[in-house]
């Protein structure tokens, strides 16, 4: 698709991304979007993008460093972030939530030019032979680079004893071995935790941008990821579907998310 408009490099700033997305969006005679320039899917990775990337690029901070207080409504450009996001849906019409059901389906079926997703999607995308795609780091804005990353850890419960404990230690040793990590990476795309193995892929065209993005990434402390995701999805829906002002929706989102955090910390 980039070749259609004579691009040989992916856009690297946010404004460039949006300009390219506008050029690559296609509409039918009635003005209905039939190919999205950019997926706008808050239920996918976009709520992370909004929270940890756009908020910071608009000069804000999402939470206090102890993760107990929501700050995105009180710092930086506040609700401008939300307004900016909804404007891309309403004013630019480069994509909208649930276009072609979801961002992954749209991108996989060549109906969306650009999307934001995690490295864990690479396995799925690579399995689709008709898809010709590349990976780039997230676009920067106002000279700020930011990224969201999540990680998970293996553990053994206190209930494991005797033979079971021995077996689980054996399994843990295997699953964290270099061999298992490389297998895992090749099949799913999830990045290895062992820096030595990770460094081997630092310049890989697909894994490389994800690894480089980790250098400036933030991990959100989720008290209840589903509830916190829905807070941002709902804020976008309120502005996009209900016409409520971004300022009001953003304030309400911060209030609701604060309640979720309070409930967790006051337990």
């Amino acid at each position: 698709m980039f070749k259609e408009i004579g691009l040989d490099q992916p856009p690297s700033t946010l404004n460039e991304v949006i300009e390219v997305a506008k050029e690559l969006s296609k509409y039918d005679k009635k003005g209905n979007l039939i190919r999205a320039g950019f997926t706008m899917q808050p239920s996918g990775q976009h709520h992370h993008w909004l929270r940890e990337v756009l908020v910071r690029q608009f000069g804000g901070v999402p939470y206090t460093s102890d993760n107990k207080t929501v700050l995105y409504d009180k710092t930086g450009a506040g609700s401008d972030v939300l307004q900016w996001y909804v404007d891309r849906i309403v004013k630019d019409n480069i994509g909208f939530p649930n276009f072609l059901n979801d961002d992954v389906t749209a991108f996989q079926s060549n109906m969306a030019a650009m999307t934001i997703d995690g490295s864990f999607r690479l396995g799925t995308l690579d399995a689709n032979k008709s898809l010709d795609y590349g990976v780039a780091e997230l676009p920067e804005y106002n000279g700020i680079k930011s990224n969201f990353a999540s990680f998970w850890a293996h553990g053994i419960t206190t209930n494991a004893t005797g033979e079971k404990l021995e077996a689980s230690i054996k399994f843990l040793k295997y699953i964290t071995s270099p061999k298992a990590m490389e297998l895992w990476l090749k099949n799913t795309g999830e990045l290895p935790a062992n820096p030595e193995i990770a460094s081997k892929y630092y310049d890989d065209p697909k894994y490389g941008p994800f690894l480089k993005g980790l250098e400036y990434a933030h991990a959100t402390f989720f008290a209840d990821e589903k509830a916190q995701r829905e807070v941002l999805m709902n804020a976008i829906d309120e502005v996009y579907l209900k016409g409520i002002s971004a300022a009001e929706a953003w304030k309400k989102a911060a209030g609701t998310e604060q309640k979720v955090l309070d409930e967790f910390w006051n337990k």
Binding site: D28, K30, N32, L33, I34, S43, F96, P97, N98, F99, L100, N101, D102, M111, D224, K226, E230, M233, N234, D237, E238, L241, K242
Partner: protein
């Protein structure tokens, strides 16, 4: 049920070993939760929109099918198909039918008819109705078969006698057929009300990430209970909400039995 009743007065959480008696705290909590109130109202809306539509439509179709002599079995089979198809599959097919252009079949039909496209499941106003339509379509088969069975038990002598007395088709329908179907109608109204009050699978599969959205506009009580119990592991709260649903089902069923029974007496 007794266990759930007891648990609704506790703070039982799957993640902690301690259970404390908390009195009516859970009930206070859910009735001050705007999502719960919205889910309660949505559940009632599913019944109000769904039950009359499915009963009227199925009665109408059953009466038409009853007149057909050839290939009645084929039509009966066709109408039952949605009911015997797995609900998850049906929900996903409808979810895709409702998609915006270029993918959604319904919107493409609208486009070809030169009519404005609709948001369906993405709209807070249309999403609940869209799910009701799907559910009515599923339930039709079951109700039609039951109504057909009922129609075939009506002795043909009654109809013939009425015809000889000069009754019109409409009179036969309203004065003979419909009153004689009353017990079956009562049965179906109650069964359908219960099934709409317990609606879950369609909503879970037809809303984004099973959230009952957009903006909770389609979230029924059962989904609320499911989220509290199996996402937040707050079993106490989920038990209280279940108790409210149980009460609602009982009250609605009781009213229907009383109302429809009196009329048939």
């Amino acid at each position: 049920m007794v266990f759930s009743l007891a648990m609704s007065f506790t703070d039982w959480n799957l993640l902690s070993k301690d259970v404390h008696f908390t009195g009516f705290d859970n009930f206070v909590k859910i009735f001050s939760d705007e999502v719960f109130l919205k889910a309660l109202w949505n559940t009632i809306k599913y019944v109000i929109f769904g039950v009359p539509s499915v009963i009227l439509l199925s009665l109408l179709i059953a009466m038409m099918l009853n007149r057909i002599r050839k290939f009645q079995w084929l039509f009966r089979l066709l109408y039952v198909m949605p009911y015997i198809t797995p609900l998850v599959a049906v929900s996903w097919v409808w979810r895709w039918l409702y998609q915006p252009p270029p993918m959604g079949v319904l919107n493409n039909i609208l486009l070809n008819l030169n009519m404005p496209t609709q948001q369906f499941l993405s709209s807070t106003e249309q999403a609940l109705i869209s799910i009701v339509v799907t559910t009515v379509w599923i339930q039709l088969g079951y109700c039609i078969v039951i109504f057909l069975a009922g129609l075939q038990t009506i002795p043909s002598e009654y109809i013939e006698a009425a015809r000889i007395d000069g009754a019109s088709r409409r009179q036969i329908t309203w004065k003979i057929t419909v009153p004689l179907l009353k017990p079956i109608t009562l049965f179906l109204v109650i069964m359908q009300s219960i099934s709409f009050l317990r609606i879950f699978t369609q909503v879970y599969n037809m809303s984004v990430q099973g959230s009952g959205g957009p903006l909770n506009s389609t979230k029924p009580l059962v989904l609320y209970i499911y989220e509290k119990a199996f996402v937040n592991f707050d079993m106490g709260l989920a038990s209280s909400a279940s108790l409210v649903l149980f009460g609602l089902i009982m009250v609605i069923t009781f009213i229907q039995m009383k109302f429809l029974n009196e009329k048939s007496d």
